[in-house]
Symmetry: C2
Subunit: 198 residues, 2 copies
């Protein structure tokens, strides 16, 4: 006998991040019990998305069109370019800040042990972009992890080679966070790079 | 301009239980970055499942066929019938116990305030089933909540009307649980219904 459709569905849900057997079961039952219309829609949109969404040829972010809406926009400031590790990082910046420049999505970070070098991150594309001369400042918004920092240093060098000013978002205590609960590394860094009060 | 496919996808994922905006985003990005094949498969199976999976006409569990494999099986003991609230409960019993009888899935519990009466739970079907005379014991495995208990009492009455013996899984301390952390209701119940040691 073939595998029942319900079991196949539970198994298929496990492709989602953070979804184990139990959650997958709950999702399958939920969709069948209370969310058939939503399930139908999810199936359709998901099927279309995996086929149609590719990468923007300029910033490497996800895009349905060869050039993503941000890169194609004439109202963005082309003198500013912000390098981020992932599309999710780009979205976070876009939603939280008033940044009006453009982006470059690395889709990863330098990690030689995992075989991720400059080529995999599309840094040759970034180099060509910087060589065009329009970009004046490269905001390097990689994550403050060991690999993110290494990537940031590499990008800063690349920027300088092309006469572009590299910058980095400030690191320090998060707003609204209590000193007592801030991790040691952040606290030590914030203490070391304290600034004079205005 | 139409809504970008990526946004539609994030929105569509929110139909799943416990999935908010942030998790839906993570799911969408994950599928596009690392799980396109899985995503394609999920879309296909989900689309097929919401169309093809209905309810077994005998036990009301989910089934692709008019009669589910369990009800159709000749190797199950038709003298035993176990009433559960949901397909997930049925699955939990099936996986954890060696139960070889049949099931009846209520797809809910009595809750007059929400408009869920005996008819919505298919209790007329259950009544007909018990009237057939084959069932000798009705194991009432509704959840030990207020509504579950009310449903259990109703089912027990129904069983007795048809000369069927109602029974209920034992309630008490969970195995491996520590007394200190067991909730008061359970502890009090377990204490009150203590049994002599063999």
């Amino acid at each position: 006998m073939s595998v029942p459709l319900l079991e196949q569905l539970v198994e298929a849900f496990r492709v989602l991040p953070g979804v184990g057997q139990k959650t997958a079961q709950r999702m399958a039952y939920h969709v069948l019990e209370r969310g058939r219309d939503g399930g139908r829609r999810l199936a359709a949109v998901l099927g279309e998305a995996v086929e149609k969404i590719g990468h923007c040829e300029r910033c490497r972010d996800f895009s349905e069109t060869p050039l993503c809406p941000t890169c194609a926009s004439v109202s963005r400031d082309a003198h500013l370019l912000c390098a981020v590790e992932s599309p999710a990082d780009r979205l976070a910046i876009e939603q939280a800040t008033g940044y009006r420049g453009l982006y470059f999505v690395l889709q990863g970070r330098l990690s030689p042990l995992d075989g991720v070098g400059p080529r995999e991150l599309g840094l040759h594309l970034l180099g060509e972009r910087l060589a065009e001369g329009e970009v004046q400042e490269l905001i390097i918004a990689t994550n403050p992890t060991v690999e993110g920092e290494a990537t940031a240093h590499y990008l800063a060098q690349l920027a300088r080679q092309h006469g572009v000013r590299p910058s980095r978002p400030a690191h320090g205590l998060p707003l609204g966070g209590e000193l007592e609960y801030v991790d040691r590394g952040t606290l030590s860094h914030a203490f070391g790079s304290r600034g004079e009060m205005a």
